[in-house]
């Protein structure tokens, strides 16, 4: 009986390590690259997956696996145009994209350094667009799809909180200009065309100054 158990354990261990050797390791890709020319993700997205605010490299940690995976496919396919990410995504195999998306989806949301809150008109504009939208232009508030305080909803509406103003603003401009067109139902392309440059600056700054935990009380 003991022999049988020991044999089973050995077999299971061997099988387990074999399976691991075959499946790409998301952590390894993130930290060391894939060994076939794709640079480690952390070079731009940081060791904790928080991104780099000033450069506009987004936070990946804690985002939905399906969302991250789709972005890699869309970078490769050209519906999300980005000169840096296109070769990265193209250099990853199907299984590697899955693995690295899974890795980042399971990282805890990193500590977030709040940007200074905007003030004056920009603050009002940013908050109004985020919370209420501008229905005279058929523009819903960001949080009507991205959730309370922009924490994100499901696999299709990523968090806006915990992203930098530079990243958010770059994306809104990309939607506007058609460089990013991988949105379901063209929801974001329609939103972006109704935003002015000042609107984009204001709402991006507003989210960059929000905590990642939704507030308990909503102000009227």
């Amino acid at each position: 009986m003991n022999t049988l158990r020991a044999t089973l354990m050995v077999l299971l261990t061997l099988w387990g390590s074999h399976a691991l050797a075959d499946a790409p390791n998301g952590a390894t890709i993130a930290q060391q690259g894939n060994g076939h020319g794709v640079a480690p993700c952390l070079a731009c997205h940081g060791a904790d997956g928080a991104g780099q605010a000033a450069a506009g490299f987004p936070r990946l940690a804690g985002l939905s696996q399906a969302y991250l995976r789709k972005q890699l496919d869309d970078f490769a396919g050209g519906t999300r145009v980005n000169a840096t990410m296109q070769p990265v995504a193209n250099g990853l195999s199907d299984a590697e994209r899955d693995a690295v998306a899974t890795y980042y989806s399971k990282l805890p949301a990193p500590a977030w350094t709040l940007s200074p809150a905007p003030s004056g008109d920009a603050a009002q504009t940013g908050q109004a667009l985020a919370v209420r939208g501008n229905w005279t232009k058929s523009l819903p508030g960001c949080e009507q799809c991205h959730g309370p305080d922009g924490v994100g909803v499901g696999d299709h509406f990523p968090p806006l909180s915990g992203q930098s103003a530079v990243y958010l603003s770059n994306q809104l401009h990309a939607w506007q200009q058609g460089a990013r067109r991988n949105d379901p139902l063209q929801l974001m392309q329609n939103v972006a065309t109704r935003l002015s440059d000042a609107d984009i600056a204001a709402v991006s700054a507003w989210y960059a100054a929000q905590s990642m935990a939704p507030s308990k009380e909503k102000q009227p």
Binding site: R132, P140, P148, L185, Q186, L187
Partner: protein
């Protein structure tokens, strides 16, 4: 998010989402020719006061409270709410948006005689209907602080609107009858294509951080069989003008009818006026081709109700 009807009066119903009551109006609603591919949204001439104009006094506090209840009834009117919906789900932009049953369109039309209960209803009584049916809860008693605040909010929003006149943009648009009778299978196709992204594959909606972001369209957490949205004509008008969110008037009229039918062909909590018999309840309260209550769709009798979780 949601829904409509063709009844006797041809009057667009403000607050149509909330129940079946039909105020008998003198003022005819402009006949909406709405061709099958109509995309123009008739602009409302009425502009409600800006929220920044809410006065900073005791009256203003009630306006602001009414607005909070309207946006988040689960928090501010918890005792009277029985599902995951909020007023704002069917009355967009906190009740301000034309063609989305705005409060400024409804308030000046009350008191109104309603064929439903054969008496003149005040606006407060009308609000009670919303809680009974759309919110699948219970009505706050007349004079309850919740009703006072909501009525104050609606009164303030209607400032300057003519009393007793049906303003353009009131209620939901009335769509012309579709070329093809609304159809479950076509509606399902539209739902999967344009609605499931937000409302979920089973119409269950989506929540985030403890709040409903995308409202449930049927099932235990949605409006009950007594709500106006259970009528396909109301639902089609709402959907046409307002869905997908921010992309109103992009669906064809046929798509709006079909997907409204699909939504309303699902089970939801029982009509609180249930008499004990589906057929008798249909005869009393759902006797219109626009209600699927008490009819059989895909081999299932609708109107059996669904317990609230």
């Amino acid at each position: 998010m949601k829904h409509m009807r063709f009844i006797l009066l041809g009057a667009a119903l403000s607050l149509a989402a909330c129940d079946h009551a039909t105020p008998q109006l003198a003022a005819p609603v402009a006949k909406n020719p709405a061709p099958a591919t109509s995309t123009s949204k008739k602009q409302s001439a009425f502009v409600p006061p800006s929220e920044s104009d809410i006065p900073n006094d005791d009256f203003g506090k009630q306006i602001a409270l009414g607005r909070q209840i309207f946006i988040d009834p689960a928090r501010y009117a918890k005792a009277y709410v029985g599902n995951q919906l909020s007023c704002e789900n069917c009355h967009l932009d906190a009740g301000r948006l034309a063609q989305s049953a705005p409060l400024w369109g409804a308030y000046p039309m009350y008191p109104a005689y309603r064929s439903k209960n054969h008496h003149v209803n005040t606006f407060a009584e009308r609000l009670q209907g919303c809680f009974n049916y759309s919110m699948n809860g219970k009505a706050p008693p007349l004079g309850d602080p919740v009703l006072v605040a909501l009525e104050t909010y609606a009164y303030w929003m209607a400032k300057g609107a003519p009393v007793g006149a049906s303003l353009p943009g009131r209620g939901y648009p009335k769509l012309a009858k579709p070329a093809l009778a609304p159809d479950y299978a076509r509606g399902e196709t539209v739902f999967k294509r344009d609605c499931a992204l937000c409302h979920g594959d089973n119409g269950q909606g989506q929540q985030s951080a403890g709040r409903t972001v995308f409202p449930p369209l049927w099932g235990s957490q949605s409006f009950n069989w007594g709500a106006g949205m259970e009528q396909v004509n109301f639902a089609a008008g709402f959907i046409k003008a307002n869905m997908p969110l921010g992309r109103g008037n992009t669906l064809t009229d046929q798509d709006a009818w079909d997907v409204a039918y699909f939504m309303d062909a699902h089970e939801r909590p029982q009509d609180p006026r249930f008499t004990g018999s589906i057929q008798a309840t249909r005869a009393s309260y759902h006797d219109t081709p626009d209600s699927l209550y008490g009819t059989e769709v895909n081999g299932r009798m609708l109107g059996q109700g669904q317990p609230t979780d």
